[in-house]
Symmetry: C2
Subunit: 273 residues, 2 copies
């Protein structure tokens, strides 16, 4: 089911600036038993993204009602919410008064193998690089050609994700997930001040780690740093935590820290159990 | 008038990857007396952009018929053509078989002051920088948040355009136009191998200059280079050529090379007279 501005529809105004310029933001949530997990965090991130793009802030109570409406009765699924600046004239200048467009839609649950969580996934390194723009860094906006072209680089179902480096050769994220590594006992994740998406699940893992007394360090990570790490895992709000068992040809163990983090998430948010 | 996949409509499938990821290309053309100027060049650039993104190439004969249909009877206007990878599932991976979406639409002619062509325009320098990604450089794709946010930086009707520098401080283009400068008798334009849009009008000016025996040089240009230039002008397929008479507080003359280039374009393509 899909709601466009609150009305059941699968059609959108073709003049929408989301189509013409990617002028908007989105987010995806795990749905279990009619409820979207980590709702408040996702709503807050959409608000923050809209603020950064100068798009009028969505009414989160209205969004929540619409999310509940589309998720009602769904045992499992993925909720996608998308906000654009709305329909506009031709030209980049944002209209002085535009009414944002909101799309709230339930998608089927992607049937990932259960082994992705238990035994981990294989990951490659993408050729496509992330361009660096501090003014857009962190925002889950609709300009996603880098991710699309990176994801088009492989068609091997055995490879679950691909690492994205920026043009300064730092590892930033995967195409649709954030990454964490364990090295010398420390839990590390790439800093995202120049590019990358600040995932809701990334923030949740950081929050839980902080609470447990073992805070995550945000830092610069080279590919060699990642290759040399003792453990590695991927996170996003649909999958939760996937251990990485192979990076190209390099085998990685599913280590105790990764298992502890996954267990902590399951306890804190049962939708991820 | 707007055609979506050949049918008069202003509605689009809300699952379109153009909306979700900016997964497509577009182009805008000047319309005079029912005809879109430089049609072949625009069609060729769309084909080239689709090829670079791995989108099935549009049937240009069909596009042309649709363009003629929407332009019929229009004395003046702007034709916009937009191609996306089509509607797709959730997720960045391009579907194996997707049918591209095409939008062909006529927009009203923007009523720019006649002085913009005769006396030149005032230009500012944007704060927003262009991120560099050689794999996307040159393509007129739908990921345009940098341009949207740059254009939102000013609201002064006396300023027609804003220069965009990349994150290495080179001048690349304006938000919706390419730039040329004359320095020590040479006609120069920024190289676009790392970012920027390779405009159809930019290529046309380069072609005409080459024919006239005074080829354009593509090179790196700093803001100081641009400030120190003897002449400066902007080009795109809607405006043709606009001299720059002021860069921030610095006055520029509308020089003889700029006037010669504009005259050459008018002679070669009467739609720009």
């Amino acid at each position: 089911m899909m709601l466009i501005n609150g009305t059941a529809s699968t059609q959108l105004d073709a003049r929408d600036r989301g189509l013409h310029y990617g002028d908007g933001v989105f987010t995806t949530l795990r749905v279990r038993d009619g409820t979207a997990a980590l709702w408040e965090q996702h709503a807050a991130r959409m608000q923050s993204g809209c603020r950064q793009l100068g798009i009028a802030l969505p009414d989160t109570a209205q969004l929540h009602a619409e999310a509940q409406q589309v998720c009602a009765g769904a045992t499992r699924g993925v909720l996608k919410m998308l906000i654009t600046r709305g329909a506009g004239g031709r030209g980049y200048a944002p209209p002085r008064a535009s009414t944002p467009t909101r799309m709230v839609a339930l998608y089927p649950w992607p049937e990932f193998p259960a082994t992705h969580w238990r035994e981990g996934v294989a990951v490659r390194v993408n050729t496509m690089r992330l361009a660096r723009n501090p003014q857009l860094a962190g925002i889950k906006h609709l300009n996603r050609l880098e991710q699309v072209l990176a994801r088009a680089e492989w068609d091997d179902a055995d490879i679950a994700e691909g690492l994205m480096l920026d043009d300064a050769h730092q590892v930033i994220e995967a195409t649709a997930a954030n990454i964490f590594v364990v090295r010398d006992g420390a839990l590390l994740t790439p800093q995202l001040h120049e590019c990358g998406v600040a995932g809701v699940m990334r923030a949740e893992i950081m929050r839980l780690s902080q609470l447990s007394g073992q805070p995550v360090q945000e830092c610069a990570l080279s590919l060699d740093d990642v290759r040399g790490a003792d453990e590695m895992f991927l996170t996003n709000s649909v999958i939760g935590v996937w251990p990485v068992r192979k990076l190209d040809t390099l085998a990685k163990p599913v280590g105790p820290r990764t298992q502890a983090i996954a267990a902590m998430l399951e306890q804190s948010c049962p939708a991820y159990a």
